[in-house]
Amino acid sequence: MAKKPTKSPGSKSDAELNRAFLRSMLLQRRFEERSAEAYALGKIGGFCHLYIGQEAISTGALSVLRPDDYVVTAYRDHGQALARGMTPRAVMAELFGRRDGCSGGKGGSMHLFDAKLNFLGGHGIVGSHIPLATGVAFAIKYRGGDQVCLCFFGEAAVNIGAFHEALNMAGLWKVPAVFIIENNRYGMGTAVSRAMANEDVNARAATYNIPAESVDAQDVFAVRDAVTRAVDLARAEKTPTLLEMRTYRFMGHSMSDAVSGTYRTKAELEQEMRRDPIILLHNHMTEAGEIDDAAYAKLDEEIKAEVQDAWDFADASPEPELEELYAHVVVD
């Protein structure tokens, strides 16, 4: 760890950037801790997949993007949504199924969308959104733009045919997409070693003739560096990249799955939790003299208040009107 963060030209100082990272990760963490509580109270229903432990990926990766770039992600999407700049209010109201949610209460946890932020969802079928990212990148190239499309998915999604088809065409046509594998080592209860003939997910990139990198994704700087390289390549040369982010999920697969189920040991979990991305960054900032305990506590309080505000807002937001049931099935 303790690597220097990559600075984009004219951006904030290291200390400012670090603080922004810490704030972003801590917001995601506190937001989801409260989501778990709301789920237990029945305020959130259905499937709810928490991102706790993986926050350095959303934070580091999305810090590289410009507002006119695009993001597509899977159902484990709270972290990316917040890191992209969706308000905790809009996200929490969506989880509560309320009118002020970012999808009007119709999508729920797995389907967060925000067109203004070029945040293209929130997709529930494993791997189904990977071709979408190639399509977005195709459209960028088609229109002669220099944006990029970042696509997030779990490592188990690389076993789906859509991954292969989408990456092959991205490599063939050279479109500006960055494919980010969040390798948390388990697809539900199945460890990578039980699902892949070759556990080296990046080995697949060679097939598509695209560059690949593996990243220690508990280190937000490493994430930012790797994504910066990939985004630069995509912008300048329309070359896609495959990035394997090595991470770990601290919670169960979803709210209905135990934290350390039969498929992984408590010892492994505890071991991995020592590499909590927030603690790593916090330690780094403490050593660099960028933050002290009082400042950290103050930041945390601020964030907790912000999340409380989101909760109150969501709770007060009305249910969608019944007419909404028939709205947006097709464009009239």
Binding site: G46, F47, G124, G127, N159, I160, A162, T190
Partner: protein, 327 residues
């Protein structure tokens, strides 16, 4: 009496059939070490080992096709889809390979296999995870489509499906797994595919249902019985082939019918039932046949909208009252 859950009834059927016939194996995501995403396959890996209970990667198209290949050379695969929503990825194999193999090979390659898993809306799972697929699948010649409503039916129909020489699509109600019913122990339960069952006897109106809506129909019939209205509840059990005689017999007796299903209206199973009724029972009808189904929209997440979208006892009761001209 031996009261078991729908889930355990299915588990018994799998266990007995894997035990009985060494060509039978179960394959799918999380079916083994995890004991099944919905715990239907609990304990089977321990009992039969990893060649008979096979965990797969998330690769629906691939493992469905692997099942077809294995069936072509003499095995009897049971392919579990974690839910039918994910089976859409595999429909090419179900429809273009399994359903047509016998026909295009002029009878040389039968497909004795079962595709099974949870189907239908659950609770607040939103548009991509809450869908009922029977009308899609029933459309395909070459497939049989089974929709058990009770634990007893789940066991008896699954055992028959596994022994059938054809590809059988077996749609378990995602919300039915915890429901309970009598499944006598030590009895060989085999329910013929293609036969409906009368779940309640009545004379004022027929309700034709399948899968989860059978429970709603029974609930409505029980409630209306208190008002002196008696309902004939016909559970199709198998959507393809459909038991036309059972439908006709009931409607000729009651002269009125309501068809209820979880799926969407257009081209739904109910549309087919109404078609049969108008052909077979036209002269017997005292009222237009009504249908109750999901609102014609993708399933919304918000609780109130979801409630409004789903068929339920209230909507079914209203339809029955309407065909009885009570409203």
């Amino acid at each position: 009496m031996s009261i078991v859950t729908y889930r355990d009834a299915l588990n018994q059927a799998l266990r007995e059939e894997i035990q009985r016939d060494d060509r039978v194996f179960l394959m799918g995501e999380e079916v083994g070490e995890y004991n099944g995403a919905y715990k239907v396959s609990r304990g089977l890996l321990d009992q039969f080992g990893p060649m008979r209970v096979v965990d797969t990667p998330i690769a629906e198209l691939g493992f469905a096709g692997i099942g077809v290949g294995a069936a072509m050379v003499g095995l009897r695969p049971i392919i579990e889809f974690m839910t039918w929503n994910f089976a859409l990825l595999a429909l090419d194999q179900v429809v273009n390979s399994a359903a047509k193999m016998l026909y295009m090979s002029n009878g040389q390659f039968p497909m004795p296999m079962v595709f099974r898993g949870p189907n239908g809306a659950a609770l607040q799972l939103s548009a991509q995870h809450s869908q009922a697929w029977e009308s899609w699948l029933a459309h395909i010649p070459g497939l049989k489509v089974v929709t058990p409503a009770t634990p007893y039916d789940a066991k008896g129909l699954l055992k028959s499906a596994i022994r059938d020489e054809n590809p059988v699509v077996f749609l378990e109600g995602e919300m039915l797994y915890n429901t309970k019913g009598d499944v006598p122990e030590g009895e060989e339960i085999l329910i013929p595919l293609g036969k409906a069952e009368r779940k309640r006897e009545g004379e004022h109106c027929s309700i034709i249902a399948h899968g989860k809506t059978v429970l709603i129909a029974i609930q409505v019939a029980d409630a209306l019985a208190k008002e002196g209205i008696s309902i004939d509840v016909i559970d199709l059990r198998t959507v393809r082939p459909m038991d036309v005689e059972a439908i006709a017999e009931s409607v000729k007796k009651t002269n009125r019918a309501v068809v209820v299903e979880e799926g969407w209206e257009l081209c739904g199973v109910g549309a087919q039932v109404v078609d049969y009724i108008q052909r077979e029972c036209f002269d017997f009808l005292d009222a237009p046949v009504l249908r109750v189904h999901q609102a014609d929209v993708p399933m919304p997440y918000a609780k109130n909208l979801e409630r409004a979208a789903k068929p339920d006892a209230q909507k079914l009761t209203a339809a029955v009252r309407k065909v009885l001209y009570l409203e």
